[in-house]
Subunit: 341 residues, 2 copies
């Protein structure tokens, strides 16, 4: 049984759940970006041949989960739980994926923090012996997110400089028990985030809304586990973008924590400046497809041995934004480590 | 460490997490129904004095969580995790409650199955030693749900006979470790549901969409744990309503399982036939406020010693319904037992 210190948001996972496999898919814009070669599959048609973008998004997630399972040669009926969610109302992409997969399903909503939330809960289920194999997955799609959260694409609206570009992409991680055969990658610690809201109301500046939550969770993680930034080869936030990135550095510095040289943000990495994504990439799929390809790849190549994956989510809805509410944000963190044998 | 049988959806919780306290709130229509005396608080003004129904819904959930904590004399900073969600897009009621509470937050989306999903995951966190105290809570509101899922209330649309009435209500359960002081109520087993979709497309007949999922989870629960209906004093579904109730009985009978005399549905109980709720109550708040008042009360009075709480959710969105998709449904189950001392 795990031990939990009062007031702590973090736990060490005694049985160190293992990454059995991972997979990622990304859309046409992402396939032209700096991480082009790191996705398992990319596609040109952003409907994936379906009759709507929404069906296309679900197909992308379904296929990414299938890819992760097939890499580990695990059949769907050997999956004890699928933990996932997405940005669409009522997380329909994840629900349709769960319908196709047939595995027990735990639907999550953490906005763009969903990849970390699913890994965190999935790892606890495995660590505690409640599951042998869990799939943790999420996705986002530029076209479905734009029309749900902002404007119809056909309107051709101008974007503000702080706006981010929702990544069309998906990522899936298959986690299993520590003693299982798999990759030399383990999930060893997790920190559950708190909702932080600094009264930011501009829905075209998600980075500024989410950076305080990212800083809050990082500081809680370091405090709870008596760690420093130097204990990590890399700290990776989900989709703060360049505005949020700078704010995150500043907020941590104000607390005496320097991130210099060990911190990147997936939103800043997924597109090049020439791709006109303004403040960078965003969406559940942003950190999901970066982790389940590029970042795990860098870990397997020996470049990174210990990584803190800190995905961030902005929890507003269009209704609450229209009602003038500020944007609550959250960040969840998981520690991933290379461990041979 | 728990033991998990391959292919099983259910686990027995070795450390038998304890219900430390519970609380419920309900709106004006519910306060006129058969369960009137069982809620901790009811209110007349369905905005709860706020400027919008949405703010009112969040206030209701916030207050219900506060009530549960104050009954157990637990401060918010001693809560290791708040697990919750609701019916609104991006689960904003739960997010705002998490913002006010300040505790680590795990956002869930299981539609009307959320009370069971939050109890299930919360209990696993406590059972595994990852948390000492967790709050599991959810809510729904007739006015916010109607305008989000169906029509503006001002339109005065006619309702079909199979339509259900979204309960304005909230429920919160505080779970703690088995050895903690608290009520003689424990959560002893849990079954994670699978998505079941029988190609039902009528969004005014949620009961028919959800009954197959309820039957699937009940049968999995009985099979996994080698139990029969007779092992329970009462099996309670969330919000199938009278159409879904009959279907649930039929589907179980077809599999050789008779529910006769030991099965009720919160959606059938919360309103009287005179209240013109058509097929019955629905919404996350329906099963949540019935469990966290009426049902726990019946357990504490000795009337029910072992109860299976089986909340059901319909996972469609308005977008997918408009696109002609059928309704995926899910049900999660938890076993609650009276255990003195």
């Amino acid at each position: 049984m795990a031990e939990k210190k009062r007031g702590a948001q973090s736990v060490l996972l005694q049985n160190r759940p293992r990454v059995l496999s991972f997979a990622s898919m990304a859309g046409p814009k992402e396939a032209e970006g700096p991480l082009a070669g790191t996705f398992d599959e990319t596609f040109e048609d952003d409907t994936l041949g379906e009759k709507s973008w929404e069906r296309g998004e679900a197909k992308m997630l379904e296929h990414t989960v299938d890819l992760a399972l097939s890499k580990a040669r695990v059949y769907a009926d050997a999956v004890d739980a699928f933990l996932g969610g997405d940005l669409l109302n009522q997380i329909v992409s994840a629900s349709y994926t769960a319908r196709q997969l047939g595995a027990p399903f735990l639907g999550l909503y953490g906005a763009c923090s969903t990849m970390a939330e699913s890994l965190l809960l999935g790892a606890l289920l495995v660590d505690g012996g409640y599951a042998d194999r869990v799939v943790c997955a999420t996705c986002s799609h530029f076209a479905t997110a734009e029309r749900q959260y902002r404007f119809p694409l056909e309107l051709g609206n101008q974007r503000t400089p702080t706006a981010q570009w929702t990544v069309t992409g998906a990522g899936a991680t298959l986690l299993g028990r520590g003693e299982a055969k798999g990759l030399p990658l383990r999930l060893t610690a997790a920190t559950i985030g708190r909702v932080v809201d600094r009264q930011q109301t501009d829905i075209n500046n998600m980075g500024a809304a989410m950076a305080p939550a990212a800083a809050d969770t990082l500081l809680a993680h370091l405090r709870d586990l008596h760690r420093s930034v130097q204990d990590y080869d890399l700290i990776v936030t989900g989709d703060l973008g360049c505005v949020g990135y700078d704010l995150m550095c500043l907020l941590c510095e104000q607390k005496g924590v320097s991130l210099d040289g060990r911190y990147i943000d997936c939103g800043c990495e997924v597109f090049s400046p020439e791709q006109d994504a303004h403040a960078g990439g965003s969406g559940c799929g942003c950190s999901a497809c970066c982790l389940n390809g590029w970042l795990f790849g860098r870990m397997l190549s020996g470049e990174i041995r210990r990584l803190l994956f800190l995905a961030t989510g902005a929890l507003m809805s269009t209704t609450t934004s229209q009602q003038g509410e500020s944007i609550p944000a959250i960040a969840h963190a998981v520690t991933l480590e290379v461990e041979e044998g």
